[in-house]
């Protein structure tokens, strides 16, 4: 039994090590932050040298990059998209709007903190974050995956009721 557990742990470690070099990022551009992605992905900064490629369907993606502010209409779709993704899945909050509301702190429609509704693994601060900052965020996520610390999707499963309650408060489901 112990041997099997050790083998399983080792297997997960190897998988994590391999997985960090092949992350597919969902093209779900919620807000103005999406404008930083074309230079990040294309030839000048070339995120694909880290194994990060944009992808169009949620079921085959690993990263949900939330680019910018989330209003209540977007949040509902974002949660649907996140729940469609297969684990392991990672969420990156992009820009200061996802951290504390940013310049939309007094808006009637913008939720201020993303981590109340979805488990965020890495935040990229800035308004706007430059492509270098985005790549730095990706590198941080890769490091966390390698160390086995990017467990946001497990947290979402374990604290499902907590997240659902927060979502219900805002969306009035």
């Amino acid at each position: 039994m112990e041997l099997q557990e050790t083998l399983e742990e080792g297997y997960v470690e190897i998988l994590d090590h391999l997985r960090k070099r092949s992350l597919w990022m969902l093209h779900y551009c919620t807000a103005c932050g999406a404008i930083e992605l074309p230079p990040t992905i294309t030839s000048r900064f070339d995120a694909e040298r880290f194994g990060i490629a944009p992808f169009v369907t949620s079921r085959q993606s690993d990263i949900l990059l939330v680019t910018g502010y989330i209003n209540i209409k977007t949040l509902r779709r974002l949660i649907t998209v996140y729940e469609q993704m297969l684990p392991p899945k990672y969420v990156i909050g992009f820009g200061s709007c996802t951290i504390n509301g940013g310049i939309y702190w007094d808006s009637y429609a913008i939720v201020k903190r993303l981590d109340l509704y979805l488990p965020v693994d890495v935040y990229i601060a800035g308004c706007m974050p430059t492509p270098m900052a985005v790549l730095e965020g990706f590198r941080t996520l890769m490091k966390l995956i390698d160390e086995g610390k990017a467990n946001g999707w497990k947290k979402y499963q374990e604290n499902y009721e907590y997240y659902k309650e927060n979502q219900r408060k805002v969306l009035k489901w």
Binding site: I72, K73, R76, W105, D106, S107, Y108, L116
Partner: protein, 157 residues
């Protein structure tokens, strides 16, 4: 162009500067004015919105129409009372007024007679408060009550 507009419009016509004509009409004549302007080659509705004059207890409905042929923008304005506001639909004149009218209902609470989607939620799903673009709606209060903020003290060196 101003003379031509004056001939078909019941209301005040001012040429503010070249290619900008302001037309102020009564609310009953709003749709018919736009209909007449469309016949005068104003083929494009650029904007339909409202302005909240809370001290005068009135909304001002503003429509921007543009003529591709004459290169003139005409700004049509009409005042309606702020209590139980209603306007007539423009979708039979300018079909792209449809979403603008839905927005009027959602953001100002102005009912549009003749628009099937008027007062239905479009952007603000599950909204149960005052329409947010009215002047008496307190956005900061609403945001602090409904959306939790991060309590972090920022220290500057």
């Amino acid at each position: 162009m101003v003379e031509e507009i004056k001939r078909v419009v019941i209301g005040e016509v001012v040429e503010k500067r070249p290619q900008r004509v302001i037309v102020k009409v009564e609310k009953e004549n709003f749709a018919s004015t736009l209909n007449a302007l469309k016949a005068l080659s104003f083929n494009r509705l650029n904007l339909l919105t409202a302005i909240d004059f809370i001290k005068e207890n009135q909304f001002e409905i503003v429509a921007l129409v543009y003529s591709d042929e004459k290169k003139v923008m005409s700004i049509v304005k009409a005042r309606i009372p702020r209590d139980n506001p209603e306007i007539e639909t423009l979708i039979h004149i300018y079909p792209n007024a449809f979403k603008y009218e839905v927005e009027l209902g959602e953001m100002f609470g102005i009912r549009v007679i003749g628009n099937p989607d008027s007062m239905k939620p479009f952007v603000l799903e599950g909204w149960g408060d005052l329409p947010p673009l009215r002047k008496d709606f307190d956005s900061i209060k609403y945001a602090t009550e409904h959306y939790e903020s991060r309590n972090v003290e920022v220290k500057y060196d």
